[in-house]
Structures are given as structure tokens and as C-alpha cells.
């Protein structure tokens, strides 16, 4: 009986002791977890994230506004200014992300390498297209096949580049349509650039005339139509070319190659030269 009582007493005390230990362990674990969690997600850190994001967003908006006004007020240097815009914006984003990582995690070099390795793998599978576009965007900015303000033809869309983003490039066509083209598509396609960073660009005006025209007279008319146009960049040459065509019916094709003072007036220049030439052709009896 005495043995039994001792055993019971032993079991009861063991059970109480083990419960107390478990409770203590659990308590310790919870305390540790909370302590770790507060270390990782502290109010200070949350505030830091919010402040950095708000500041970055605000800075982006400020930059957009600032560049827009620079372009408006310093028209002559428009393209140079616009060239800077995507570079500055990417720098700001990079700085913001860097600040967040350093402030929140302060990772060691090994941790960064490990993170980069694993995230590259994960991103490679999950965000394949986005990553392609981002690298495409970086390539466009570094390689510079075109700049904001250039007039390009990509995948049949001809117009002015209005924005080069990390994912997409936006082109405003001559019909005032906004075309968004993924950067990955741009780097894998051929692009024609009409002005390559210059304010002016060459405009080719096509004029069709009867086959038997007096080319000397026509040359004089179209050349003067170009050099008297208000939109002409007078610092660059005007070239006139003649071609005979015998496709459906015989005709003389006249090409007027001249530079417009600002790529934005390309179509106005083309129209002006065509209109003036046509009036002169009617005057001399080439058109009736």
C-alpha cells in the first residue's frame, strides 16, 4: 500500500512537473516568437515602409511634373530632357528598394546571394514575362535604340515615344492613339527611328505627276515649295529625286527629301509642301 501511494505521488508530481515544463516551454516559445516578430515587424519598420513608399510615390509624381514643365518651357532641349526621365525614375526606384531592404533586413552578403539565387529561380518561373519586359526596358535605356520624343516605327505603329517604362513603352501615333508595346517585344523586333534624339527629322514628300513632265520646271517648283515652307529646317539640305513608274499606268514620282524644324510638325510640313506644289502645278498647267 505504501508503495502504491509512493507511486501515485510520484506520478502526480511528475505530471504536475511535466505540465509546468510544457507550459513554460510554450510560454518561452511564444515569447521568443513575439520577440522575433516584433524585431522583424516593428511599428518603426512599418512606418519606415509607409514613409519610403509615400516619399517614392511623391517623388515620382514630382519628377513627372518637373520634367513635363521642363519640356514645356525649354522646348529646344526637349529631347535631351526627356532622355533623362526614365534613367532618373529607375534610379529613384532602385534607391527606394535598396533603402527598404537595408532598413528592414540589414542582410549579410551571404543572405543577399542566397536570396538572389532563390529569387532568380522563383522569378524565372513565375514572372517570366514581367522579368523579360523589365530587362527589355533596362536594355532600351542602356542600349538606347530610341529615346522619349523620338519618332519610331515598331510593329507597324509609327509615332512619338512618350514613355519608356520598366515594362512597356508607350507610343503616340499620328492619329493620336496611344499604343503600349511590351519591352520584350521591342528588343526582339526591328525598329526604325526617324530622328534618333534630334529635334528635327527628315520628311519624304511623295508627289505623283504625268510621265512627260518638264523635270527642270518641276524641280524648281518642288524645291521652292520646300524652301519656302515655314516648317523647313533651313540649316539642312533639300533633295529632289525623280523616278519613272510603269506599274498600272506610267507616272513620274517626285521625292522631296527635306528636314522639318521639329519632328512634331512632320505631317504639317508634308501637307504644306504638297499644297504649295499642287497650286503651282495647277498654275503652270501640269494639273488641270
Amino acid at each position: 500500500m505504501k508503495k502504491m501511494i509512493n507511486l501515485l505521488f510520484f506520478l502526480a508530481s511528475f505530471s504536475i512537473f511535466s505540465q509546468e515544463k510544457t507550459v513554460n516551454d510554450v510560454k518561452n516559445n511564444v515569447e521568443n516568437t513575439i520577440s522575433n516578430a516584433t524585431e522583424v515587424i516593428s511599428i518603426t519598420k512599418i512606418l519606415t515602409i509607409v514613409v519610403v513608399i509615400i516619399l517614392t510615390w511623391g517623388l515620382m509624381k514630382l519628377l513627372d511634373w518637373f520634367f513635363k514643365n521642363l519640356v514645356k518651357n525649354f522646348n529646344r532641349h526637349r529631347l535631351k530632357i526627356l532622355r533623362l526621365q526614365p534613367i532618373v525614375k529607375i534610379l529613384v526606384w532602385t534607391l527606394a528598394i535598396y533603402t527598404l531592404i537595408i532598413t528592414l533586413f540589414n542582410p549579410s552578403a551571404e543572405a543577399i546571394y542566397a536570396l538572389m539565387g532563390s529569387s532568380a529561380l522563383a522569378l524565372g518561373f513565375a514572372l517570366q514575362d514581367i522579368v523579360k519586359n523589365i530587362f527589355g526596358g533596362l536594355l532600351i535605356i542602356l542600349d538606347r535604340p530610341f529615346q522619349i520624343g523620338d519618332r519610331i516605327n515598331i510593329k507597324g505603329n509609327y509615332g512619338e515615344v512618350v514613355n519608356i517604362g520598366l515594362r512597356n513603352t508607350i507610343v503616340n501615333t499620328l492619329d493620336d492613339n496611344t499604343v503600349t508595346i511590351p519591352n520584350s517585344a521591342i528588343i526582339s523586333d526591328s525598329i526604325s527611328n526617324a530622328n534618333s534624339g534630334a529635334l528635327d527629322c527628315m520628311v519624304v514628300v511623295n508627289l505623283w505627276l504625268p510621265i512627260n513632265v518638264d523635270v527642270t520646271q518641276i524641280r524648281k517648283i518642288v524645291e521652292e515649295a520646300a524652301i519656302t515652307s515655314r516648317y523647313l529646317n533651313i540649316d539642312k539640305p533639300v533633295t529632289i529625286l525623280f523616278f519613272d513608274h510603269f506599274d498600272d499606268h506610267a507616272a513620274t514620282k517626285v521625292l522631296v527629301k527635306a528636314y522639318v524644324l521639329d519632328a512634331r510638325y512632320e505631317k504639317l510640313f508634308e501637307g504644306d509642301v504638297t499644297e504649295a506644289s499642287k497650286k503651282a502645278f495647277i498654275e503652270v498647267g501640269i494639273y488641270s
Binding site: 522646348n75 517648283i221 519656302t228 533651313i234
Partner: protein, 394 residues
């Protein structure tokens, strides 16, 4: 550039950068009411007219030397001379005063466009005192080469011979052919406006016709000051504090005695005037005239004027101004031709520019009204054309 102007410029630059609207100018009507009418006797001293005598034309020694040398060259190589000047720079005065080199020189000047062969032949026969009538320039050329003795002709503003339109260069080109054909008999001295020269040089390689070209140099600040002081002779000049002044000068003025104060304000006035005129005598005269605030008996009160900025012109208005620059002056009809505009469009734009005093009307001999750029805005408008129309002229 004066400190005050630098500050003003920086302020405007920052305003422009951040797209902040500057304070609006006082309305034109108010300004007109505030303006005190000055006596005619005083204003006449500031009338712009060409000087005829070398003795009165200061600071042009280098140009006179070049003109003498060019004439000596013509005697050997028979090459014509081109003088490139800016409106108001004194090109006409230089050419008129240069007649001491060739006293029998005939001056052909016209304030209207020469738009037909008949008009040109008429002017040439008139100046050469030829009584015969000629159907074309070729006949006149033959007559000159066959019967005329050596002559010197000064033809001013050759830009009057072209109009920016299809077939608008024919007369000018034929005249250049005539000039080359008669250069053995006639020493041609041609003058052209700087902007017309820039345009014609680009589109028609104009300069290549002239082995000798003289570009007028800006007149020194010292000489400009002398010219203005001369025009105020007999009047006591009292300098008033301008409306806009830097704090530094404001402090200097507070500390200074009355005499010192006048010296500071005098320096400030002439500094502002030189910065505005940039060596252009007519602009300096206009600046001084517009700065004359009041005249009482024999005392003139001078308050430096502030030239307002112009940066809100439309593209069409800029094209109109450029066309006027290229032709020196244009009538509404000519403007319609040059810009391929309708009459109504041109009139409306001209009215707007007139209201802002950027251009001013002038009457020709036959009573037609032509419009030319207001000299007070010459540089501002040239800068605008450079900036907005991507033109590369100096």
C-alpha cells in the same frame, strides 16, 4: 549683365522651371495713362535717321577701312561687296557716310518691296540717269556694258527683291546675274539684313556671290554713352530710381549722399542701356527715349525702363515674326503670300502683335502699310525664334 538683371533672370528661370506664373504686368491702358507727355523739342533729339557724313559717324573706323580696301580690290578684281547689318545697327549710316571714298556713288534705297522686273529696271535706270526704256534686265545689261563709264551703286536692303514663295526668288536671282554681268562697269555695294542673309544663305547660297562681306561690329558701351549724353546736351539729367532694383544697390543708395546717389543711378542706367542695346545704336537711342520720364524746363528725369518678357506667342505668331525678319518688313498681302494664310488669319495675327507692340506699322511711298519688328523687342524675339523654331542664327 547688371546684378539686378541677373537676379531677375534667375528668378524668371526658376519660375519657368517650376511653371509658376509671374506677376502679371500692369495693364497697357494704365501705363498709357501714367505716361507723361514729353515736349516735342526733346523727343526730336531721339529721332532715328541715317548719318550722311563720316565725321559724325563714330566708332566705325574698322568698317571704313574695310570699305576702302574693298573699293581698291574692285579696281583690280571687280568683285561686288556685301554689307550685312541688323536693323538699327547703323548699316545705312555707314553706307551713306562711306561716299567720301566714292563721291559719285549713287544710292538706291527703297522702303517698299521690289516685286517686278519693271519696278527694278525703273529704279536702276533712274539711279543711273538713263533715259532709254528697257524690256528686260538683259537689254539694260548690254546697254551698261556698251556705253556706261565706271559707276558705284549702293543698293540697300537687297532682301526687298525676293518674297518667300514659289517663283519669289526669280527677280533676286536674275538681279544677281545682272550684277555679275555688269560688275566690270559698276562697283556694286549691297546691304542685307542679318536674318535675310541667314535665310538666303541657307536656301540659295547667297554669300557665295560676294567675295567681300562686311559684318557690322557692335558699338562700344562707351560710345553708346557718349551718343546718349550728346542727345541730352543742354538738359540737366536727373536719374531716378528704377522700379525694380537690387537690395545691394538699394543699400548703397541709402548710405550715399545726393551726389553719390546720382552717380550710382547714372551708372545703373547706362549699364542697363548697354545690356539692352548690345552695341545697336538705334536700340540705345530708343531705350534712352523711353526712359525719359519727365521733362521740366531744362531738366530731364530719367528712369530706366523694364522690358517685359515675351514667351507666350503662338506658333503662327512666331512664323509671322520670322517672315517679317526675313523680309525686313511685310504688308498684309505679302504676309498672306509668304505664309499661305488667308487674309483674315493674317489680319487677326497682325492685330494681336500690334497690340502687344511687338511689331509696328510703317507707311511706304505709295501709302501702303507695312509691318516691321519693334526694335525694342528685337533680341527677345530673335531668342524666341532660336528657341522655339530651332533656328541656328546668331
Amino acid at each position: 549683365m547688371a546684378l539686378l538683371e541677373k537676379i531677375q533672370y534667375s528668378k524668371s528661370f526658376l519660375y519657368k522651371l517650376f511653371d509658376i506664373e509671374e506677376k502679371k504686368q500692369v495693364s497697357v491702358i494704365e501705363e498709357a495713362e501714367e505716361k507723361i507727355q514729353l515736349p516735342e523739342e526733346y523727343l526730336e533729339r531721339f529721332t532715328l535717321y541715317p548719318i550722311q557724313n563720316k565725321e559724325f559717324l563714330k566708332n566705325r573706323e574698322e568698317e571704313f577701312k574695310s570699305l576702302e580696301k574693298a573699293y581698291e580690290n574692285w579696281k583690280i578684281v571687280k568683285s561686288p561687296l556685301l554689307v550685312v547689318d541688323e536693323p538699327g545697327e547703323g548699316g545705312t549710316s555707314l553706307l551713306h557716310a562711306s561716299t567720301y571714298i566714292y563721291p559719285n556713288a549713287k544710292i538706291l534705297e527703297t522702303n517698299q518691296s521690289i516685286d517686278s522686273y519693271k519696278k527694278l529696271i525703273g529704279l536702276l535706270t533712274n539711279v543711273l540717269r538713263i533715259s532709254e526704256e528697257f524690256k528686260n534686265l538683259k537689254d539694260l545689261e548690254k546697254f551698261i556694258n556698251a556705253s556706261l563709264e565706271d559707276e558705284v551703286i549702293i543698293l540697300e536692303n537687297i532682301e526687298r527683291l525676293f518674297i518667300r514663295r514659289i517663283k519669289g526668288f526669280d527677280l533676286l536671282e536674275d538681279f544677281l546675274l545682272f550684277l555679275h554681268a555688269t560688275k566690270n562697269k559698276i562697283y556694286w555695294i549691297i546691304s542685307i539684313n542679318k536674318y535675310s542673309f541667314y535665310y538666303l544663305n541657307r536656301v540659295k547660297f547667297f554669300a557665295s556671290h560676294f567675295p567681300s562681306i562686311i559684318h557690322l561690329e557692335p558699338i562700344s558701351k562707351k560710345q553708346l554713352k557718349v551718343e546718349i549724353l550728346d542727345r541730352n546736351q543742354g538738359y540737366q539729367m536727373v536719374y531716378l530710381k528704377p522700379n525694380k532694383i537690387s537690395k545691394k544697390i538699394e543699400k548703397q543708395l541709402k548710405k550715399a549722399s545726393t551726389e553719390e546717389r546720382q552717380n550710382i543711378l547714372e551708372d545703373l542706367f547706362f549699364k542697363n542701356m548697354s545690356a539692352f542695346a548690345k552695341g545697336n545704336i538705334s536700340k540705345a537711342i530708343l531705350y534712352a527715349r523711353n526712359s525719359a520720364y519727365n521733362v521740366k524746363l531744362k531738366t530731364v528725369f530719367i528712369k530706366p525702363i523694364h522690358i517685359k518678357r515675351v514667351d507666350d506667342l503662338s506658333l503662327n505668331e512666331l512664323f509671322i515674326l520670322e517672315a517679317i525678319f526675313q523680309h525686313r518688313s511685310l504688308s498684309i498681302k505679302e504676309l498672306n503670300i509668304v505664309l499661305r494664310n488667308s487674309d483674315r488669319q493674317s489680319r487677326l495675327s497682325i492685330e494681336k502683335l500690334l497690340e502687344r507692340e511687338l511689331i509696328r506699322p510703317t507707311s511706304t511711298v505709295n501709302g501702303k502699310t507695312q509691318y516691321r519688328v519693334n526694335l525694342m523687342y528685337l533680341d527677345i524675339l530673335k531668342d524666341l525664334l532660336r528657341e522655339r523654331l530651332n533656328r541656328k542664327f546668331r
